[in-house]
């Protein structure tokens, strides 16, 4: 849906890094390298980024109950 504010497991704040991550990936940079440089070291935080699909804008077009 929308990127979590913090990592599910360790609690590190990571939400603010998503836009940078997306931007650099769209320029063709390597995921591994970008995550390292953003300071996302642990695999719990990395998995939040790797597994995330941003659907907030798609879902926003439908009615909320």
């Amino acid at each position: 849906m929308i990127i979590p504010v913090r990592c599910f497991s360790c609690g590190k704040p990571i939400g603010h890094l998503w836009a940078q991550y997306q931007g650099r990936l769209s320029k063709g940079e390597d995921k591994n390298k970008v995550l390292d440089e953003l300071g996302i070291q642990r695999y719990c935080c990395r998995s939040v980024f790797l597994g995330h699909v941003d659907l907030a804008d798609e879902a926003a077009q439908f009615k909320k109950f």
Binding site: M1, I2, I3, V5, R6, C10, G11, K12, P13, G15, H16, W18, A19, G39, A56, D57, A59, A60, Q61, F62, K64
Partner: protein, 264 residues
């Protein structure tokens, strides 16, 4: 007991230090007090005036709660330490308001804080996305709290390990195989001989693999010295987290001693 600072990260959010001359129970006490007892600010209540975004009120409130807020411990007080839980008092409650209209992303920096010293640590954290015609209006209340009731009030991440001691006694025959397995780079080749890289030895993860590869290598752990890592989430500096943790330990010990005296 002694503390020796090993390293500070570039952004000063993480420190690593050696805790010397103590016992595992104390290292764990320090870890738990940091995680559960050091108070920081976080949003606790949210009043929604308007929310036509795709996210439910609860979800937005949850996201707001998880935002780390810069914390001034000299001014703010825990609600339970103030009269009547301090409802409405400036040193207990802080109001933040948010008003946003779509289209666009609402960020943590859009929160207007009544106290400029308390603000989101990461202003670029996305809160909710708004399409054209959607809007969000709310008032949030931030209070001090402790990690033991919710992790949003935890100041950071703290962990430790026993200090590794890596030694080479005698001649290493399988130096090549050891270097190949050495993912932490704790060994190096010096004049064609295997040697322990002094600085890197602390990052050894106590794998017994090396000593299995060659009996000349001994890897042990000290149980009176700890490599302690403290990672701040940004509300407080690592130094003030440690200082505050020490204060809490002292307070609790004093309280315990008083209770013992009473019951004796």
């Amino acid at each position: 007991m002694e503390i020796e600072l090993l390293s500070t990260s570039k952004d000063k959010s993480t420190i690593r230090f050696l805790l010397k001359g103590t016992v595992p129970a104390f290292a764990n006490l320090l870890r738990r007090v940091i995680l559960e007892e050091v108070p920081v600010m976080a949003i606790e209540d949210v009043d929604f005036v308007k929310n036509s975004s795709v996210l439910y009120d609860e979800m937005i409130a949850h996201r707001l709660g998880l935002l780390p807020l810069t914390t001034d411990l000299t001014f703010y007080k825990l609600p339970e330490k103030s009269e009547n839980m301090g409802k409405g008092r400036a040193e207990v409650e802080l109001k933040l308001t948010l008003k946003a209209k779509g289209p666009g992303m609402v960020y943590a920096k859009d929160l207007q804080s009544k106290d400029p010293s308390v603000r989101p640590v990461f202003p670029d954290t996305p809160i909710a996305n708004l399409l054209k015609g959607q809007s969000l209006e709310l008032e949030a209340t931030a209070v001090l709290g402790r990690g033991r009731s919710h992790m949003k009030w935890s100041p950071g991440h703290a962990y430790y390990k026993y200090k590794p001691e890596v030694e080479i006694r005698g001649e290493v025959k399988n130096a090549g195989a050891v270097i190949e397995k050495d993912h932490n780079k704790i060994f190096e080749m010096k004049n064609g001989k295997l040697a322990v890289a002094k600085e890197a030895a602390l990052s050894c993860d106590l794998s017994l693999e090396y000593s299995e590869l060659d009996p000349a290598i001994s890897i042990t752990a000290r149980d009176d010295e700890f490599v302690f890592t403290l990672e701040s989430w940004g509300q407080l500096s690592p130094k003030s987290i440690l200082e505050e943790a020490c204060k809490v330990i002292e307070e609790q010990c004093t309280e315990y001693a008083a209770l013992m005296k009473e019951s004796a």
